[in-house]
């Protein structure tokens, strides 16, 4: 799937945990804070629910970037979901970069329910950096 | 049989000639593996090889191939079958065992009631130029299964390396037309004598490695023999023996669907995988190594004899060499024969 780069806009899949990050995005919305529309949000129960496959599948099926957000350490609704996830994320990100996937395709952050403004900033930043990377080609299927 | 001769250095010209007309596949080196691949010039070819790691079957029967794609145009469904507009294929420099394997594949894919159009689109018009084996490997047992280092079965032309020249044995009319067209000299008496010597020497260097006499009957009666359990206990159930086998042909059909597009794909499958026989109910009639490996051996040395009148192993030895746990089919057969 080759895309025209001229008026190309990145597609970014954002996995947000239900209890903090999704609520944070919600807050950004109800507070009418503007942020780029490049993200497609997928709500998951907890950042601990993220299977690395979700991330790879997104990249395989046309996402140009992936953003994963969960509650700040100590705030996870399930107490330790994000702590466990953090270890997986560290390894996955490192492995992908090592294998030659551009740094920045897959990003992680903590967003609380109160951080509507920060969420919007985060999305703007991520969108900008992925825009700079250009369309994802490497893991795309055909 | 007509015999022609060509100097080794003239092969270059001949090959480049053929490349003009055919899609030529030949042994090429990739890292330190030899595989069959499409060549763009004679320089890619590496004829100094014993045999390729992967068999040439994928040239006729690729590991993964789209059978059709479907989608919708407005309200109507659309189906598209890929058509190949390729020129006819020519396989250059394959080994006689692999050339024979095509005849076995034909029995499956070009069977009277089931003609496989995908296979046949590549098989029809395909030209096979094999090269005889002056140095068979210790793991080769073609002579035990009806072939030989200079067997011409399955080839249109067979090359015999006699030092500075190749003798070209002309096997089929198709092969004959090709040599006429490119124009090569007839082989003289002394060169033919040399060829006979080369062939004889190679043949003498091979000793029978399995006893095929009465093997089928033995296998049939040993089906429930507990020896199968101990023979196969070390098997890892990987796909090496089947995927690297020139005559294993099992496949699976899968559908891949994205948004509004669907694709039906044929992929290689292996009787060594538990998934091969797993049923929707969760039950698996071949649950362990024992049933799976026995199936492979029975299929080749008994069922194919029933169905096609011959064993479906060409004795290339790939599964012998590459098995990660050295489960040696020759040993399995010998053990059963001796029961």
């Amino acid at each position: 799937m080759k895309r025209e780069t001229n008026d190309w806009e990145p597609k970014i899949v954002a996995f947000l945990c239900n209890w903090c990050s999704y609520a944070g995005a919600d807050l950004a919305g109800v507070s009418r804070i503007q942020y780029p529309t490049n993200i497609r949000i997928i709500r998951v129960p907890c950042s601990g629910r993220i299977n690395p496959f979700f991330i790879l599948s997104s990249l395989q099926h046309g996402a140009d970037g992936v953003l994963v957000c969960g509650c700040h350490p100590g705030d996870c609704h399930y107490l330790t979901g994000n702590y466990n996830a953090r270890r997986k994320f560290a390894l996955l990100q490192s492995l992908l970069e090592y294998a030659g996937v551009e740094k920045g395709r897959v990003q992680f952050s903590w967003v609380s329910a109160a951080e509507g403004g920060r969420f919007a900033e985060l999305v703007a930043g991520v969108t900008e950096s992925i825009q700079a990377l250009g369309p994802a080609e490497k893991l795309v299927k055909r | 049989m007509k015999t022609k001769i060509i100097r080794k250095q003239d092969m270059t010209g001949l090959l480049n000639n053929l490349i003009q007309e055919y899609e030529v596949f030949a042994p090429v080196k990739r890292d330190d593996l030899v595989i069959f691949d499409r060549i763009g010039s004679d320089k890619d070819v590496s004829l100094e090889y014993t045999n390729s790691i992967k068999p040439p079957k994928e040239i006729l029967f690729p590991q993964s191939e789209t059978l059709f794609t479907c989608g919708s145009i407005g309200d109507a469904a659309s189906i598209e079958v890929p058509v190949s507009e390729e020129r006819p294929r020519l396989l250059f420099g394959i080994r006689p065992c692999d050339a024979r394997s095509f005849l076995l594949l034909d029995k499956v894919f070009n069977e009277e009631n089931h003609r496989d159009v995908y296979y046949l689109s590549r098989r029809n018009d395909m030209m096979v130029i094999a090269i005889g084996c002056i140095k068979p490997r210790a793991t080769c047992f073609c002579t035990s299964v009806g072939g030989g280092p200079f067997s011409s079965q399955g080839s249109d032309l067979l090359l015999v390396d006699i030092g500075d020249d190749y003798i070209i044995q002309v096997i089929t009319d198709k092969g004959s037309r090709l040599v006429e067209k490119v124009g090569v000299a007839d082989a003289g008496e002394n060169k033919l004598a040399l060829m006979k010597m080369v062939i004889q020497e190679a043949e003498l260097s091979m000793s029978p490695q399995i006893k095929t006499d009465g093997l089928k009957e033995k296998l049939d009666s040993a089906f429930d023999d507990p020896i199968w359990g101990s023979l196969t206990e070390k098997c890892l159930s990987c796909g090496i023996c089947t995927y690297l086998c020139p005559s294993c042909y099992c496949f699976d059909i899968i559908d891949e669907v994205t948004d509004s597009k669907g694709e039906r794909i044929r992929i290689w499958d292996s009787c060594q995988f538990p998934l091969f026989t797993l049923q929707a109910s969760g039950s698996n009639p071949r649950p362990t190594n024992k049933e799976r490996h026995r199936q492979r051996v029975m299929h080749k040395f008994s069922y194919c004899v029933d169905n096609y009148g011959q064993v479906s192993c060409v004795g290339c030895g790939r599964c012998v060499i590459e098995c990660p746990v050295n489960l040696d089919i020759r040993q399995v057969l010998t053990t059963i024969s001796n029961r």
């Binding site: 270890r87 996937v101 299927k141 | 993964s64 050295n326």
Partner: protein
């Protein structure tokens, strides 16, 4: 080496005689030069078949799972490390296995030895006193054994089994190695170079799954590649499907891979599987200070956490 074979047979006979175990998993002579092959022994008199040499390169821990019998296993150090992980992952109980540990000088990489011969066929191989003698039609070649070890053996610094019930022979000296210099070297390449190398390697893969099936830690009842509901990975030869298979297999072994190299040796296509696995082995060590297969007490790194685990990789954490 032959003394070791003798001692192994002795120990095994005793175990079977005293009915301490029902099954012994070890190695016997293979049908090809430079090959030994796994064997399963249940009777005392069969102990004669057991051998030990530099060709015992399969990881026998592979065969431990899903058995009821009491088992003795002839374990070099990487087999023993795999057993440690299997015990921790509750695939086998410590009581069910008698570990007959064999200190290891490293196994021969037969492909390295073959490469020395430029296509000439090896018909016979012998080893003694640190030398490997290869014979074929019209040639004899003597190689220095230690120059032809498997890569995993070259960088191994646990050559003595970390866990055992019976130890065969004397311990061997551990060697100090710079374990991860290969990883650092690879990391120094550009992103594009790394991608090119990995995809080039992965594109050779024929999805025979020998790597997975040879790996002692790949024991999932249903591997993700076989899962059809959902279908995590495509089954075509599209490079993206194969790449995801390899990335995910490596990832599933994070903190579990004991670096035995069985995967790589099984691969008929010589895919450089180690490139990915070892990266994770080294990351797990650096980030979580954990080494697989060394201790029965430490929790697997992905089954635990520390509140202050590194998170510098995250966006303004």
């Amino acid at each position: 080496m032959s003394e070791l074979s003798g001692q192994i047979r002795e120990a095994v006979r005793k175990l079977l005689r005293q009915k301490e175990v029902d099954l012994v998993i070890g190695f016997e002579a293979g049908t090809l030069p430079l090959h030994s092959t796994p064997c399963f022994i249940r009777e005392q008199q069969e102990a004669e078949r057991l051998i030990w040499n530099s060709f015992c390169d399969n990881n026998l821990a592979k065969y431990l799972g899903k058995r009821q019998e009491k088992i003795a296993i002839i374990a070099k150090s990487c087999d023993a490390r795999a057993i440690v992980e299997l015990i921790k992952e509750k695939q086998i109980s410590r009581e069910q296995v008698v570990i007959v540990g064999v200190p290891c000088h490293g196994m021969i990489d037969r492909r390295r030895a073959e490469a020395e011969l430029e296509g000439k066929e090896i018909l016979e191989a012998e080893e003694n006193d640190g030398e490997l003698t290869l014979k074929g039609n019209g040639f004899t070649k003597v190689l220095k054994r230690s120059d032809y070890l498997c890569y995993g053996c070259e960088v191994c610094f646990h050559r003595n089994p970390v866990i055992y019930d019976i130890l065969i022979g004397d311990g061997v000296a551990e060697k100090a190695t710079d374990q991860y210099s290969d990883i650092a070297e690879f990391e120094a390449k550009s992103t594009e170079e790394r991608w090119r190398y990995i995809s080039d390697q992965v594109s050779k893969c024929i999805r025979c799954y020998a790597c997975r099936n040879a790996c002692p830690l790949c024991y999932c009842r249903e591997c993700f590649v076989d899962n059809t509901h959902p279908q995590w990975t495509g089954k075509t030869t599209d490079i993206s499907d194969t790449m995801i298979f390899h990335l995910m297999r490596a990832f599933h072994l994070a903190g579990r891979c004991v670096g035995c190299g069985a995967c790589e040796r099984a691969c008929p296509m010589k895919v450089d599987i180690r490139k990915l696995n070892r990266k994770l082995v080294s990351d797990v060590k650096v980030l979580f200070d954990y080494e697989a297969g060394i201790s029965l007490d430490r929790t697997a790194p992905l089954a635990t956490f520390k509140p202050d685990d590194p998170e510098g990789f995250m966006l303004n954490p």
